[in-house]
């Protein structure tokens, strides 16, 4: 091996000068990580406001929301939203939350900030590509939001954009012309950003690890980001051509997803030959790995933080890594469970249900390992500890309702109801968001050099934890009573008695949403007024806690850290200290 190629690619770019290069077009992974984080924050606030509007409409359909008529005179004349405006908001809520929050914050946000430091690197492998990924993602967000302002409004076809509704153009309904094209363009752009980000993460994790940071010593967060990057690289590569074909159906007059002989508003459509199921297959081929792209970073963050909270090593590091890899692998074999009743071959339906059920085994093992790790712990339940424990609770709850939906026979009944909404909000929405809260409370001192307020943090946890159960648990009951999702109002006789439940959910959602203002206040107040943070306020073992808070622009100040042991060495029998940092040689700790 010649000497040059054996050295990790060192990035001795000099410290950036000037505001633009320092904060806007920065190559520094820490700045880019924060940029992603704040983009997600903007997105999650937008998405949450949309969900408030939807919830108010579902609880009190006739209620006028005064500001709404100003925001969208067409969509909500007099403040009462039209059915199509409800569907537009639903589409935007789903798309923003899934892509720009769940995919962006845990992976690109925290991953970008923390991964290079945790593996002892100065920066990502390709800093320029990293900057490009962020700006591509940013542009895609702008494209999506701009659909709010075109005359026809955003599309009404949901975040899954099932063809032919999404492919037929404005003949099918409002927002399906320009709005739908903007949606597809935005998601296609997002794919490019994610692909570039993913290959950067993989190369960084493999190539830039410090000396001694073997794969078996990577913090579980790094494993999770690495696995997620592999998933992103493979899954977004399928969604990208699907979006291209969808756009072609719109502007090229092709009919990839539109069959022959369709009649819309008494007009025979000129399309012929396509297949609506093709879109569903391509979409869910991406869509199911996407679910794990959203949650696996959460699994990593929780595992990482749980060890610090419990002050003991995790019950089994290797089993957790193995389970995450198994889950990632299986995620490519199960997409058909979204399509049990879609007209897909019933034999395929049965076949897809088997790996879907099998995926519960590694997921169950992960939960058991966490429980085993909490056993006999000396818990330090500060804000991030509470959120980490809360994550286990909501992840178990959401996972168990997946048991029902994995079985085609039961899916026959529950498929399109609120049971599904409750399920995926728990397991993918709430769990992933709890992962983000955990990450924020945990890494805030490192990212901003100040401490967050603990009292506000705990208050935020209690309101959120109880709130999400009040919002999403009743949705399971609604689903059992066959309440159909994606309805802007409930006019069917058997659904009328369920409206009080919707009112309860709406109140819970507004209250829980209001509780997030505490978090936002805490975040921004602490950023400027919080107590100054020490290098290692949580007495954690990973490399990021061995450098000052916030870290210098080149992370380790030109030094090359060396790693001596696995992470999470807390309260080891016979050890010289309560916790053993990964990069401290034994004799340093003893002295």
């Amino acid at each position: 091996m010649d000497h040059d190629s054996a050295q990790p690619a060192a990035h001795h770019h000099s410290p950036p000068q000037g505001f633009i290069w320092k904060y806007i077009f920065s190559l520094d992974h820490k700045v880019i990580g924060k940029q992603y984080y704040f983009l997600s924050l903007l997105a999650v606030v937008t998405g949450m406001i949309l969900s408030w509007l939807m919830r108010i409409h579902l609880g009190w359909g006739a209620a006028a929301i005064p500001l709404l008529s100003k925001l969208s005179p067409n969509g909500a004349p007099g403040g009462v939203m039209t059915p199509e405006y409800y569907l537009s908001l639903m589409t935007l809520h789903g798309t923003i939350m899934v892509f720009f929050v769940l995919t962006t914050a845990p992976q690109a946000g925290f991953g970008n900030y923390v991964l290079p430091i945790q593996i002892g690197a100065e920066d990502m492998a390709f800093p320029r590509l990293n900057m490009l990924s962020f700006w591509v993602t940013f542009v895609s967000f702008i494209i999506l939001v701009s659909s709010l302002f075109v005359s026809d409004g955003p599309p009404i076809s949901g975040w899954t954009a099932y063809a032919p509704l999404s492919a037929m153009g404005s003949a099918g309904g409002p927002g399906l012309g320009t709005g739908q094209i903007l949606w597809a363009a935005s998601i296609g752009t997002f794919c490019i950003g994610s692909l570039l980000g993913a290959l950067n993460f993989i190369a960084t994790t493999l190539d830039l690890r410090a000396r001694g940071m073997s794969l078996a010593r990577l913090p579980l967060t790094c494993w999770a980001w690495f696995i997620t990057a592999v998933l992103s690289l493979l899954a977004f590569a399928v969604l990208l051509p699907a979006c291209v074909l969808l756009i072609l159906d719109h502007i090229g007059g092709t009919s990839f997803f539109i069959p022959m002989g369709l009649v819309v508003s008494d007009t025979l459509q000129p399309h012929s030959g396509g297949s609506p199921l093709l879109w569903q297959h391509l979409f869910w081929f991406f869509g199911h790995p996407e679910v794990y792209i959203a949650i696996v970073p959460g699994l990593g963050i929780i595992s990482n933080v749980l060890a610090c909270t419990c002050r003991k090593p995790l019950l089994s590091y290797r089993v957790l890594v193995g389970c995450m890899i198994t889950i990632a692998f299986l995620s490519f074999t199960v997409w058909g469970h979204h399509m049990f009743l879609s007209g897909m071959s019933p034999v395929s339906g049965l076949t897809f249900s088997v790996p879907t059920l099998f995926i519960t085994i590694p997921a169950a093992i992960v939960c058991l390992i966490w429980l085993g790790s909490v056993y006999g712990a000396k818990l330090r339940l500060n804000s991030f500890g509470l959120f980490a424990i809360g994550f286990i609770s909501v992840f178990v709850t959401g996972g168990l309702s997946g048991f029902f939906l994995a079985q085609p026979a039961i899916d026959t009944y529950l498929h399109a109801g609120y049971f599904v909404v409750g399920h995926f909000h728990f397991v993918m929405g709430v769990a992933a968001i709890f992962g983000m809260f955990t990450g924020t409370y945990f890494w805030f001192p490192k990212m901003f050099g100040r401490m967050m307020n603990e009292t506000l943090g705990k208050l935020h946890f209690w309101l959120t934890f109880i709130g999400v159960y009040c919002i999403f648990m009743p949705m399971h009951y609604l689903g059992l009573a066959a309440n159909i999702r994606r309805y802007s109002a409930f006019t069917d006789d058997y659904m009328l008695p369920l409206i009080p439940v919707h009112k309860f959910i709406t109140i819970a959602a507004l209250a829980t949403g209001a509780a997030q203002l505490i978090f936002l206040f805490n975040l921004f107040w602490s950023m400027f007024k919080g107590k100054l943070a020490s290098a290692n306020p949580w007495e954690a073992t990973e490399l990021e806690w061995s450098i000052p808070s916030p870290p210098p622009w080149d992370n380790f100040g030109g030094k090359h850290p060396v790693v001596y042991r696995e992470p999470y060495q807390y309260n080891i029998e016979g050890a010289p200290a309560e916790f053993l940092p990964q990069d401290a040689p034994a004799q340093v700790i003893r002295s």
């Binding site: 089993v319 079985q407 039961i410």
Partner: protein, 264 residues
């Protein structure tokens, strides 16, 4: 803080489980032949995952309750280490999965893999944006051909029939609600003229997407007379929430009478 968490966790678990056990909101009474299989499968799964839910949350609450940081004791390793946990998870969850798959596949097979009875009553379903139309073949027992270019809601030719040239189409009965005889197998062939819709009757325990470009057959037998709602469950446009029809299950003699009155 740990003790508070444990208490809250237990309350949440008990309240959540109560509404399920009390069946406060539950499936409507089943009216189909294959339905008891679906219900049984769902109840078994509810029992299994309900026990797991309560167990997991209680154990978590207990561990957090006793995991106080202020106690002077040392941390304890989980007895036996990870191996028994992993093995028992694989064995127990594995058995549960195999059991559910085996039983569940039979239920699924009863709906989708059995051929329709030869004496089934054949009914056609056509879905369009925000309405269902049903078609009975009439006395000749044959459906007329569908001509998409002739479909027109304006002149009431919902099916695009061509009675002038097509003999089979002349006696086709097209109605806006599904009327069927009780205890008789029904073969429903579904197609859509525009978007993907879905046919769902909660009481029938049947849900099937209606995909443009495909003629998807489904068969069932209703066992109780009465009037039920058919809802669309696949997002099909702005009026999706209003898209519904009624299913009326009649005794055979009343059904015959109804059919006769329609064909005149």
């Amino acid at each position: 803080m740990g003790k508070l968490f444990a208490v809250v966790m237990v309350i949440i678990t008990v309240v959540s489980a109560y509404f399920v056990i009390a069946h406060t909101w539950w499936m409507p009474v089943d009216i189909s032949v294959h339905g008891p299989g679906v219900d049984h499968q769902l109840e078994e799964t509810m029992l299994g995952s309900g026990i797991l839910f309560i167990l997991a949350q209680f154990v978590l609450a207990a561990f957090v309750f006793f995991g106080d940081s202020k106690s002077p004791r040392k941390v304890k390793r989980f007895p036996g280490g990870p191996v028994p946990l992993v093995v028992s998870a694989i064995v127990l969850v594995g058995i549960e999965i195999l059991g559910l798959s085996l039983v569940g596949s039979k239920v699924w097979a009863a709906i989708y893999f059995t051929p329709p009875a030869p004496d089934s009553l054949r009914v056609d379903l056509q879905a369009e944006q925000f309405a269902f139309y049903f078609r009975y073949p009439g006395p000749d027992g044959q459906f007329g051909t569908i001509h998409p270019d002739k479909i027109s809601d304006g002149n009431g030719n919902y099916y695009g029939l061509d009675p002038a040239n097509d003999v089979a189409a002349r006696d086709d009965i097209v109605v806006g609600s599904l009327t069927i005889p009780v205890d008789k197998p029904i073969l429903l062939t579904m197609h859509s003229k525009d978007m993907i819709h879905s046919f769902f009757v909660p009481e029938l325990r049947i849900q099937q997407d209606i995909v443009p470009g495909l003629d998807i057959p489904i068969h069932f037998t209703a066992t109780k007379t009465g009037k039920y709602e058919i809802v669309c469950t696949q997002l099909c446009g702005l009026g999706h929430y209003t898209m519904r029809a009624f299913l009326e299950v009649l005794p055979q003699d009343q059904f015959d009478q109804w059919l006769k009155s329609q064909s005149q």
